[in-house]
């Protein structure tokens, strides 16, 4: 069996980046409904496939989803689920991470299918997209840095984030995504 290529890893980070950077819209739901994706999500979270395929994604449901994203991540009053790493990290860790934000701030952004705005550099979605860009690099030396970068920017806090996510949300897509995030960070070729 072949190895999980860097570009495949990059795409998984990109997928997760999309899920966390903004609420899901019709287009992203449509893509998640693809059999190969939904079956993996089902494995991560029982009921996810059914949720994706059998929910009538009418305006009301889309609004509910948007409201849930807002409740979980934009106004995280009850959930405490800030998407910013600095909310979860110690001051020293956050201070170190700020240097990575500096590097990120110098990177070119390309057009995406939603308005990302000028997001803080320690936003989970931005960090995931950044890792995707690292793994997508044609420069093998840069690709090799992916694991170390993920370890510094995500590992110190993502387990706690995921634990809180599992307590705060019952949405199968977010639950599956949290697990996927943990597992991709943990992924090692046999």
């Amino acid at each position: 069996m072949s190895e999980l290529s860097c570009s495949q890893k990059a795409d998984i980070f990109s997928l997760l980046g999309r899920i966390f950077i903004a609420e899901l819209d019709r287009e992203s739901l449509l893509a998640l409904q693809e059999p190969q994706i939904s079956s993996v999500f089902e494995k991560l979270q029982t009921g996810c496939k059914d949720y994706l395929l059998n929910t009538s994604w009418d305006d009301e449901q889309i609004e509910l989803l948007a409201s849930e994203y807002c409740h979980l991540f934009i106004l995280p009053k009850k959930s405490g689920l800030s998407l910013q790493a600095s909310h979860w990290m110690t001051k020293d860790e956050a201070s170190h991470l700020a240097q990575l934000e500096t590097i990120i701030s110098h990177l070119d952004t390309s057009v995406v299918n939603y308005d990302a705005g000028n997001l803080p550099g320690d936003h989970l979605g931005v960090l995931l997209y950044f890792l995707s860009a690292v793994y997508h690099s044609e420069d093998k030396e840069i690709q090799k840095l992916g694991n170390s970068l993920a370890a510094i920017s995500l590992l110190p806090w993502i387990a706690r984030f995921n634990e809180k996510l599992s307590q705060s949300s019952s949405n199968p897509v977010y639950l599956a995504s949290g697990k996927l995030l943990l597992q991709i960070l943990d992924y090692k070729e046999p």
């Binding site: 069996m1 795409d11 990109s14 106004l75 009053k77 990120i104 000028n118 690292v134 840069i142 110190p156």
Partner: protein, 917 residues
Amino acid sequence: MKQSNDNKQNESKLSRRDFLKLGGALTIGVASVGLAAPLFRPLSGEQTQQDLNKFISTRKKDFVDYTRARAIPTICFGCTNHCGVIGWVQDGKVRRIEGNPLDPNSLGNTCSKTHGMISYTYYPERLLYPIKRVGKRGEGKWRRISWQEAIQEVGDRLKTCRESGHPERFIFHYGRDKTKGFTKRFTNAFGTPNRLNRRAICSSNRRVPLMSYYGRDFEWETQDMENTKYILNFGSNPMEAYQGGLYMMHRIQKARVDNGAKMVSFEVRPTATVNCSEEYFKVMPGSDGAIGFAMANVIIDEGLVDKAFWERWANISLAEIKEHIKDWTPEHAEKLSGVPAKDIRRIAIEFAKAAPHCTTMTARGSAKHYNGTQGDRGLRMLDVLVGNVGRKGGLCLTSGRMWGGGKYGQDGLPSVSQPKPKPPKPKAFTPGTAAYEDLPDDIKAKVARLDPQWQKKYQGELATPAEYPLSWHWYGMKVGQLVQPYIREGRAKVDVYMSYTYGAAYGYPEAKVCREVLLDEKLVPFHVAIDIDYSEHAALADMILPEATSLERWDPHSTNCYGLVPYTGIRQPLVKPLGEAREIQVIFRDLARHIGGGMEQYFDYENVEDFYKEWYKNVSAKIPGGWEEFKRRGIWQDPDRAKDYELYERPVPEKELLGSTVDPETGVISNTIKGKKRTVGIMMPNPETGEMEAVRGFPTPSRKIQVYDPVFPLAAKSAGLPEGDPNGNALPTLFTIPGFDELKEDDMILTTFKWNVHTQGRSSQWEFHAEIVHTNQLFINTRTAQKMGLKTGDEVEVTVQRPRGLTYRGGINEVVGVVRNRVHLLDGVHERVVCFAHAGGHWEHGAVARAENRESLPIKEPDSGLKKDFSNEIWWSKERGGTGNGAPMNDVLPINPSPLVGGQNWFDNICQIRKIS
């Protein structure tokens, strides 16, 4: 249980095959449109590789690299002082702020609060997107929306309101707006007079005596602190929290150390200013005026009046004043205030002998009482009696604070004014207009009772409340604490309510009234909040629009200069707004264009900088290097301009005398300027030659200092105050606060104050400042507490009574509210006073403000190998065994506007304290 969890975990564990399947599906692009679109281009290049390697290997803390960081001047918005500062920006982030040495007020000093701007710009719970409510109002259910959707919906509603012929039903209610009239441009263009502020909450009662004495341009005095020898401080606290405080504090200390100046403070609690004073007297709240009148008596009796000054500039004879105040002696003041008569005498003599190098200093402490306006008029008299006004070391009055808007003392200054075209002012509600006809009959009757000068200016109960004509006589100070009660009473109708960085639902007296009204969709059909933050007020909106912070936007800046040479500055963006936050100038531009109907012509700019460049074109023209150099310096001041001493003696410029007329009786010179008849000066004898000459005088109707002001009885009659009510006296008058003369043994007076590291209720989420001060315990005199059997940390119940007198629900025998708090014993507090800082007990503004345990922090996982980090923890949360964030005290303070003026009487609250066992 653990076993089953592990099993569950295993069930969801992806195999290598799953990852390949997922990766494959994404790579072949089945989902690329919807999901896998990249945000960044793939990384490449040696430099990137080096940077990343360095980042991974060094594990260093971030630091400001001054070889790379850019220093950009701007204006601080940490508090109301607005000091010139310099922000160090590195890689698109503001890292550090320090003082701008070119600022003639701050002289390069700052306080710790300036770093609050970094806190509120980057704190993880900052609101970054427009959001719209999806649940019931106040339920806390929202969804993110695009700006396009936001502008469409708000714009449509505003357009409908405007086209309905009732533009006044658009209410714009702001907290701290330092756009210097930019938001007014929007409301004027829209046609609504209802641009409502918080002046009454803040300082109307202390502004009115100043404007009455010296004219509209001098709503704020500017003591020449660095040259003074004697300061009489009545309840102001520049060392901690005061408009102009930072500018004054180092000048006061310089005067004390270098000139041997003396400061005497009359206060209810030991403030930092008290601690810098040579003498401190505890006074009964609301008795400052009594001390002032007593001192005036002493100064007259001792023959210490500067007669030449009084006779030249006061608009009433000394004999009349002497007769009027004769009963308000030091002994009488001792009874009311508790300050010994012998000390009042001694200090009055010391003060007068130091003239003109002496000054009074009054602020909210003396003024925010039922008798505060009249009491402050008494205190103002001391400066006139000793003739220190406008003189070196005295109580100075400097050129108009708003260049372009002011009319006094600005000769020779470049005009700074908003770009043209400027929208016309909204029309008055005169009979026959739709707005007037919409008024309830009882309000029409109140309007009919107003003096004609006010009837002509009347614009509805929110902007120009008929019972408070002095809240809008000089300019629109409004009565902010009555806005929600008035809406509830049906005195004004609302279509769209827009709040702008406004916190009444938390920070106003009886804030619960505000919340009730905002929750009522019949009274307020649509509420859009513009804020940088999810505040208690914004939480009751239908839509919240995230605004750029002060580090991300433009604003003009002007304020009175304590160095007495006018200057101006510019707030400029240091960084791009975070997330999707937008500058108010962009939000209003887009709304105006959407509403159309002519509004758009006033917002005809694409780039906000161009708008301000035009605004400051005359200043730029004075600077070699123009606009770019102005931005580089951040501040402009004419280095050759003389200090603003004795502006009133300056000659009226020739061009203003051309075509003027002189009133033969009063000597007042009038001319027609921009189509309006205005007074421009007064004929006065030259002190040396005796020849009559045209001098500026003061910008009052008489061009003199109006110790006697007929506007008070006129206002009293217009507002329907009972005949003889002392609030309506034309001469400064002493009276006691209703109810204070009948205090029972266990009645206490509840007063409030501001912490030096906080800015009202808007700083509670600044985590470094919250770490220093996060609660608002109740300070009480040690002996008083001991009599009650209280010790520091004990919990008490505070019951606040409805005030007496001619105020909101005045005299109704009821309890306004009951609140629990902990006491802190402090010797220097007045025996009958309990006081607390009003910034406490938040239930919004994020985890830091709420002092909520951050479960996200690693302390929960001691075995995780992550370092315990107390500096990042809300260690004062109750869950961590701390005190929490204090008590929401504002809810129990009564709405209590002063008669005629409307300023909130914050310090008149009669209460009872009960220990909770």
